[in-house]
Amino acid sequence: MSRVTLSGWGRTSRSVATVEDVSSESEIAAVLSSSRANIARGLGRSYGDAAQLSGGTVLRSRMGDVGSIDDQGVVTVGAGASLDELLTVCIPQGWFLPVTPGTRQVTVGGAIAADVHGKNHHVDGSFSRHVREMRIVTPSGVATISPERDGELFWATMGGMGLTGIVTTVTLALLKIETDQVLVDTQRFSNLDEVMSEMTGGDENFRYSVAWVDCMTRGANLGRAVLTRGEHARANDVENVSLHAPAPAKLKVPFDAPNGLLNAVTVRAFNEAWFRSSPRMQLAKPESIASFFHPLDGIRDWNRLYGRRGFVQYQFCVPESSSETVRVAIEHLSSSRVASFLAVLKRFGPSSPGPLSFPMPGWTLALDLPIGPASLPGLLDDLDEMVWSSGGRVYLAKDARLSPEKMRAMYPRLDDFLEIKNRVDPEHVMTSDLARRLDLVGA
């Protein structure tokens, strides 16, 4: 037990909490019954204030055992295991995660709290779709839950930002793979309209698809993009069939870069170099799982490049009918001279039943923005307004600045969530800095 200063991956708001390492359900239950404010924290990869709790208790689970994988690919893992640890066990046996976010450095518990999505959401949905069952310690007791057993609590927990309790073990259905390679098609587009129309028509032919968009170009080149789409390579697609787990990162950012290193000028230059170095058109190029799915995991502590002030990530989704909002948002950014690194554009498939789950059928755009420009807070408030009025919403796992009013408007099923939370947490002891900021504690 120790007092620790915690922040999210964006390194913005910081607060001090008592950190407790827990390794059994009874230990967790004991903490929840003695501490008045609690939240779980995995590897701290949510960008904002979701896994910190000023003056409260932050629980870190040591329950990270990876069980044996049955012949259907079903495995039971401790929620404290990272996706990296899980992949280390399952890839050599020919299994892969059914859904993986852009980093392997998140825990299974964190993946559930944020109901994470990957490049295959348009085909496979979010993480929750592949969870068969889980164990959770809530303030009112321990339970085994699944879509069939207390489905209400199961779905409230999926995307529930850890506010229903502490998940301890998870039973997950994995995806069969024959090799550790992905066959990737890469295509360059000189503007946003072209890439969006290609994605609308063609994404359904690929399991994985994502576009990297340059938000700093204007006019005819507005939103120029590189689209990468891929499929797992079959055994007969490659010369040497191998099943190796990704290697740990060799590079690391050793100290905080100076504030403002990533500014409009340097980011523009980076985006330019990156666009020019991407192939115009390349088909079925074999790539490793690590380089295709987790490019940023190649450099440890890359968030330090943003300097001490940190950065925010802004990710929103809008329904299919509001695809114009994506364009307007990028126009807004490119004309405001706010530095924004390569943005990630994706198509989403159907939503999960979770009342706070983020994805909805349509488009999602994610932006990394360094703290600094005085116009940035207002610019993002304007984007909130636009996203909300288009029927869309902002992703809580990335959020560090939304207002409670906008949160409520964007997540119309918030009251359903709070009702279930109140049932399992009548004393409101599950909370977080994010929950306090967005009024999700319950009353």
């Binding site: 007092r3 913005t12 409260g56 005085a374 807070p377």
Partner: protein
């Protein structure tokens, strides 16, 4: 809770009726602040500031009355203000201060004592209790209004500048003591600010308005700048002025204050 841009949701403003404090409060309410406690001496001015905060978007604004000439009430004032927030206090602004008319009070020991009490002793006593409460909370920010007059004290304002200098230096040490507690303290050093406190005074170069100071403070909150100069150029100007030989310094300030 404050957001990634250091925009608080709950704010306590000590001397919430000062022009600078009101300009800051307005901007905070327009951003994310929904709960505000304004502490001050004058009920009527507090009511005005309260309506202003509500008009700019606050949902709940309470007022607390105190007199900064009596440090024995500092702890009670802080406690009462925190209780009215009913929850996490994200930001405390200390704008307590008195410029005074030095020429007329410098020979009166009692009035000189009051100057030092209002500008130094009361804020320091309040800070002690604010520190206690915020450290226990594990988060929160403190913004203390200092002045460039504290950086190098000049003849025409030595009472005000001297007392502010004490507060300014003390706060730098206090800020260091807060490392690792989740709480932080930021100093604001404005130049000459056009406000009711300075009305009629001769304007030195780089004078600024209360709205500009408030903009600089909001930006400083987002960037977590330990010392917020307003206007920002004064940081460099005072780097030079601070090291001027005394005769030259007197000459420059005599010119400015004449």
């Amino acid at each position: 809770m404050e957001n990634a841009f250091g925009q608080p949701q709950s704010v306590v403003v000590l001397a919430g009726t000062s022009d600078i404090a009101r300009a800051i409060t307005k901007r905070l309410c327009a951003a994310r602040a929904h709960t505000v406690v304004l502490a001050g001496r004058n009920q009527q001015l507090l009511d005005e500031a309260r309506s202003e905060a509500l008009a700019y978007g606050a949902r709940q604004v309470d007022v607390v009355i105190f007199d900064a000439r009596d440090p024995s009430n500092a702890e009670r004032t802080v406690n009462e203000s925190f209780e009215k927030v009913r929850g996490t206090v994200d930001l405390v602004v200390i704008a307590v201060g008195l410029l005074g008319d030095q020429e007329h009070i410098e020979n009166d020991a009692a009035l000189v004592g009051d100057m030092v009490t209002v500008n130094f002793t009361w804020p320091v006593a309040a800070l002690a209790q604010i520190r206690n409460l915020l450290v226990r909370q594990g988060s929160g920010r403190i913004v203390v209004l200092s002045s460039v007059a504290a950086v190098r004290v000049r003849r025409a304002k030595y009472l005000y500048g001297g007392a502010k200098a004490g507060l300014d230096r003390l706060c730098i040490g206090l800020a260091d003591s807060l490392e690792g507690t989740g709480v932080s303290l930021q100093l604001v050093r404005p130049g000459h600010v056009r406000s009711k406190m300075t009305v009629g005074a001769k304007e030195p170069p780089f004078a600024t308005g209360v709205d500009d100071v408030a903009d600089d403070v909001l930006r400083g909150l987002a960037e977590r700048t330990p010392i917020i100069w307003s206007p920002p150029i004064l940081r460099y100007l005072f780097f030079v002025l601070r090291h001027l030989p005394a005769p030259l310094w007197r000459k420059v300030t005599n010119e400015v204050d004449r």
